[in-house]
Symmetry: C2
Subunit: 338 residues, 2 copies
DNA sequence: CTGGATTGATAAACCGGTATAGCTCCCGAA
DNA sequence: TTCGGGAGCTATACCGGTTTATCAATCCAG
């Protein structure tokens, strides 16, 4: 028999459909003996719930969504998303909930997807990444009443659940390390200024500068691309009082920066120390290998999944879970200034 | 009113549910006038189909799946998948079909996912990547009667639909280019030997060697990781009659190889030419930038989506679509041997 | 002018589960 | 002895669509 239904199980067990439903979902209404008999038969017939049928009656779909709004070109080299995805999935698979992934061009398209998903009942909740300062997605999701969890930024105003790491402390640990090595001219090549985490990192650098006696600590924003990372580096290294250390907000930009330094004859780490605010194979492929901030992105994803499931189960309580602080992995690209 | 159903539309239009269904799906059974009236009302009420309800009656879910069986660690740096995914989605979005993505550890887990998806009716079809020589997935999918399309390898024995590029011709173009530059000792750092495309590339090198008068053209297999790529390169460059050119099956390995050359004082492209069989930002971030084979991965994905939809619509005909041949993008890492 | 085919629409069954009202026992307390 | 009440189960409505059998009205050919 192809694809047994609970009706098949019911006839075979000599009970009603309802009893089978009760038994399979572990809820009261059948005796232990009957329950066990039903479960055994279901097992024998290798029954599996029909996801659509279940979604129709109850109103959960056992599926969550994640939309990434970035041009595909910049996505691939970012190991961040691959690790995050794996983590999310491992957090979901325990409950055998599936993940819908969508890559779109911009936030407008992303919001459109949320609307469609909601009206078509395709997902029970969503995971948000790359939170911006006044993020329109937050209000939209609230008005759609779609459970959501924000990755890497506090939901703000008690709005959405979130999973976040302390970017401020992380950035401080980098700058303090460089200061301890003796650096006084440190530059910060930041990401897109409208991202919340970019803002927090910039603020951290600015706040720490006087305390650590830094002469200069500019934060320069980019679009996260390798080309802008390279361009800014070229400009920084052309100054008369050029920095002795540069902190990059992504590993791709750090690699591009290293390339520029080599091309300009600036030795790393002799004349210039480089730190990447994100770790991956990339940093280790380089010569010299780059000192970088390592985050447990996989775990990040798993926790996001957990929090999302909690939020779906009980949308009234808003969880804001903090993850362990990232740590600085020192490699060959940092040294005391000459 | 929250989430209008076709029943709501029906009462408002003064017709039956069935008529509404006919109208919305563009099938005969209603007059043009009525159809238009119904469509207008549906539009006004911003009606959207409830995916689960639709999936229950008809037996299509409007959703396809893709499982990637690779450790997450090696996934992130591969821009290949990000581009492929975007392409697949662009091919699906035209029909507003959603994509389920899953990253698992190995093929056994992947097959388990296919079984679950089938029994739970979660997908209408799947896209297969990384076809191996005697791939167990092909038989499994056939016995599950789950429509599928293979990316990057002919389905074999008329089994599954496929979308493929000519790896053989591509590899020949690389080797011929190197030979034309004057290289006679060319090494090939290949990927995992059980992948079909690896086999085809190895065979291409072997077949071309005598015709081009190559003295030596070994193909050495790896697990696609940067570390094995580096290790093999170290071995190759330590030989007394070391190769003057190396072709790498992936850009990550090529980058690792370039690092080894620099570390050993072998100048690129002076003493060694390097070619990557795959292009991405990575190759352009390097100094020197790497000569690489560019494939339109996005288009690849889009075509795969198209073929899959055709296969779902009509499972009897098996499409084997060939995509445009990849082209060699020459950069700074190739030159005549010294 | 009549019979058969065609058009436009309806009512109802159906998909595979979940939720609920209600029925039948059986047990214990008054 | 009777009655209340809970445990165990059945029957059935329901979720939101699709599909089919049916039927009335219209049209055309003979």
């Amino acid at each position: 028999m192809a694809r047994p239904t609970i009706a098949d199980i019911a006839t075979r067990a000599g009970v009603s459909k309802g009893a089978v439903s009760f038994a399979l979902n572990g809820r009261p209404g059948v005796s232990d003996a009957t329950r066990e008999r039903i479960l055994k038969i279901a097992e024998q017939m290798s029954w599996r719930p029909h996801s659509a049928a279940r979604a129709l009656g109850a109103s959960r779909v056992d599926s969550v969504g994640m939309v990434i709004a970035r041009p595909a070109r910049t996505l691939g080299v970012e190991p961040f998303f691959a690790h995050l995805l794996s983590g999310v999935q491992s957090g979901l698979s325990a409950e055998s909930i599936s993940l819908q992934l969508l890559i779109v061009e911009d936030t407008a398209a992303e919001i459109e997807v949320y609307r469609r998903w909601t009206s078509e009942h395709r997902v029970d909740g969503v995971i948000l990444v790359d939170l911006t300062v006044k993020d329109p997605r937050v209000d939209e999701l609230r008005s759609l009443e779609l459970p959501a969890v924000v990755i890497g930024g506090r939901g703000g105003k008690g709005a959405l659940a979130s999973v976040w790491a302390d970017d401020r402390d992380a950035m401080l640990s980098i700058v303090e390390y460089l200061a301890a090595l003796g650096h006084r001219r440190i530059a910060h090549v930041a990401g897109t200024p409208n991202f919340q985490h970019t803002q927090r990192r910039i603020r951290a650098v600015r706040d720490a500068a006087p305390r650590l006696g830094l002469l200069d600590a500019p934060s320069l924003t980019t679009d996260f691309s390798d080309s802008e990372g390279a361009a800014i580096t070229r400009k920084l290294l052309s100054q008369s009082d050029r920095p002795t250390a540069i902190v990059y907000d992504s590993d791709v930009m750090a690699v591009a920066g290293l390339g520029v330094a080599m091309e300009m004859g600036v030795s790393v780490p002799g004349d210039l120390s480089i730190v990447a605010f994100d770790d991956s194979i990339l940093t280790q492929l380089m010569h010299p290998a780059l000192t970088a901030l390592s985050r447990d992105t996989f775990d990040f994803g798993r926790q996001a999944a957990e929090v999302l499931l909690e939020t779906i189960a009980d949308p009234t309580t808003v969880v804001n879970r903090r993850t362990p602080d990232p740590v600085l992995t020192v490699r060959e690209s940092t040294a005391p200034p000459s």
